[in-house]
Symmetry: C2
Subunit: 328 residues, 2 copies
DNA sequence: CGCCGCCATGTTTGCGTAAACATGAAGTCT
DNA sequence: AGACTTCATGTTTACGCAAACATGGCGGCG
């Protein structure tokens, strides 16, 4: 900056003013400074800026993995929205999804240049780590328990699952089977609970639960078992990838979807419209989730306190070819 | 820090020494300082540190989108490897994939707290932006032209495509059709070129090229057209998602895969083993790509210059049920 | 015509940290 | 025993920037 000032024949302060678009710099001076900046390839040092302002204009995002479609799409939305608000995103990976791993992430976080944190993961583990969350750092949690210590943004899992079950019952199925996600996942648990509640509310038999791990492969394994259940005419999978596995299993076992068995997924990943057959699924608005996360976290940074509490993003059922009435 | 020092009854410098694990602090003093830190919830200010050191221990990643599986998996590998090397990752999204969008990203980059940059995108656009790349910032480019101004890390697209075509020819197919990715993508172009080269090298007819945009939907549309070509018995899709669309189109048109037509994909996304039928595809080692990117970029930051040049990460063909010999 | 106030610009200062240098106490060697 | 080393710790300083305050020139007003 001093070099630029010297070259432009002004003081460093004037360079600073030009650099920040301060109004009280006369046109000719401004031009000279800008020219000097260009010639010297000056770029402001953000560390010094951050030191001065006490803010980094950066949001940290803690997540386990990007391999789930939901996580990466949420992250993308967060990144875009953050960019819009003038914030950058720093990723804080949790290498191993254990309590220690989370603690490690939070420790690193304490040393990182972030003004706030968005946590995308199961709060089972978050709980244990709470203690080490640096005080004064705003936090927004996605996909967690509706814990009132935090601001939570999440898809309306319950209503989504309810819609899926309702749709199948409305088609005339006696009951609906469920392939759930892993127990550690709050989203999985809430979808499973909503499935059970909806069935019970309708006075239907609640079939035994199958569990997968979100992967297509695990859905396939569950599907092989379900194909052997003669009463199974409708399955609600907790995500689209497991639904994909179901479709494959049913196909291999000679069960035609949707003639013999109907399948509903959850997420509405872009590929799901190209499954064989195209998948009826619950659409999640990841973009909206990301947007709200950033909006809330930024508001906290600006000291416009948004109390803890949960924001639910609505879902909507997308009807495709994988569902139909039960076999005659 | 001053507060901690006062509380521990030492100087600020001693606190700093403890904080950085400097050896010349006697045990008892160290304990007192650590206790004071704990009591006061002290966490070092990374802005000040960065200002002092002139480094941020952060790598910026510029990318267009996370919606492609390849991008998000590469990013994940980059994040993990960077964490291992003690670097954080800051994301720099390019909202609109235009020349201006890229320029904007690079401008923002100039103001961001990063020591180096990894670019994940088509270099078509990068070229235009080159001028504004701040000098002195190490850059590694993924999925780009083998431009010798940059250090490039990429999957061996050519060999992967070659293996796919070779496999189909070896099965006895007369020739292989190709559904390419978008023209703007260098990866797509290189896969298409390798496909053509391999066919020509084998003295086979080169069928007309279909183009998609990486999406399953675009693969579906291409597939509907290809299903009408009686000579088409083998198709190489430039990615797994378009292959998924092909499978659906063939299924709908009554063509049985692989009996009537064989399909090979590219990427080996986790779901591809659960397609109907499971997809033969070219496995890309995204993890390795990410690892090498970080390794090279960190080496540059440390002033251990790695000259420009390309590192190719090998691919391998994964054989599944979607390929077989041509119909009798 | 002179005083006041405004505005463009310059000067000083401090943000939190760690390197470089300074100090002083406890040993070590001749 | 005296000088010299070693080492734990303290003091000063600079990193780059921008807020706060200082300055000086100019126009407007009575």
């Amino acid at each position: 900056m001093a070099d630029v000032a010297r070259r432009a024949g002004v003081s460093a302060q004037t360079v600073s003013r030009v650099s920040n678009g301060h109004p009280s710099v006369v046109g000719s001076t401004r031009e000279q400074v800008l020219a000097a900046m260009r010639e010297l390839g000056y770029r402001p040092n953000s560390a010094a800026r951050a030191l001065k302002y006490g803010q980094f204009r950066t949001i940290g995002v803690i997540l386990f993995t990007l391999s789930s479609v939901g996580n990466s799409r949420t992250l993308e939305a967060i990144v875009d929205q953050a960019a819009e608000e003038g914030y950058a995103i720093t990723l804080i990976p949790v290498a191993v999804p254990t309590r220690d791993g989370v603690l490690g992430a939070f420790t690193r976080l304490g040393e990182l240049a972030v003004d706030a944190v968005i946590v995308i993961m199961e709060i089972h583990l978050l709980d244990a780590a709470t203690v080490s969350l640096p005080a004064g750092v705003p936090v927004v949690v996605v996909d967690s328990d509706a814990d009132d210590r935090y601001t939570v943004v999440d898809t309306d899992q319950v209503d989504g699952a309810r819609q899926a079950v309702r749709h199948l019952l409305d088609l005339g199925h006696r009951t609906v089977w469920h392939v759930a996600g892993p127990e550690e996942s709050f989203a999985a648990e809430r979808r499973a609970t909503a499935w059970r509640t909806e069935l019970e509310g309708a006075g239907r038999v609640v079939p035994p639960l199958s569990r997968g791990d979100w992967s297509a492969e695990s859905g396939y394994r569950a599907g092989l078992a379900l194909a052997g259940e003669p009463d199974c005419t409708a399955v609600f999978a907790a995500n689209d990838q497991m639904a994909l596995g179901l479709l494959r299993a049913f196909h291999e076992k000679g069960k035609v979807v949707p003639r013999d068995v109907s399948v509903v997924g959850f997420d509405d990943i872009p590929d799901s419209g190209s499954f064989v057959p195209p998948l009826t699924t619950v659409h999640q608005d990841f973009t909206e989730v990301g947007r709200r996360c950033v909006e809330r976290v930024v508001r906290q940074v600006r000291n416009e306190p948004v109390g803890p509490g949960t924001t639910l993003v609505p879902t909507r059922l997308v009807l495709r070819a994988s569902t139909a009435g039960p076999p005659a």
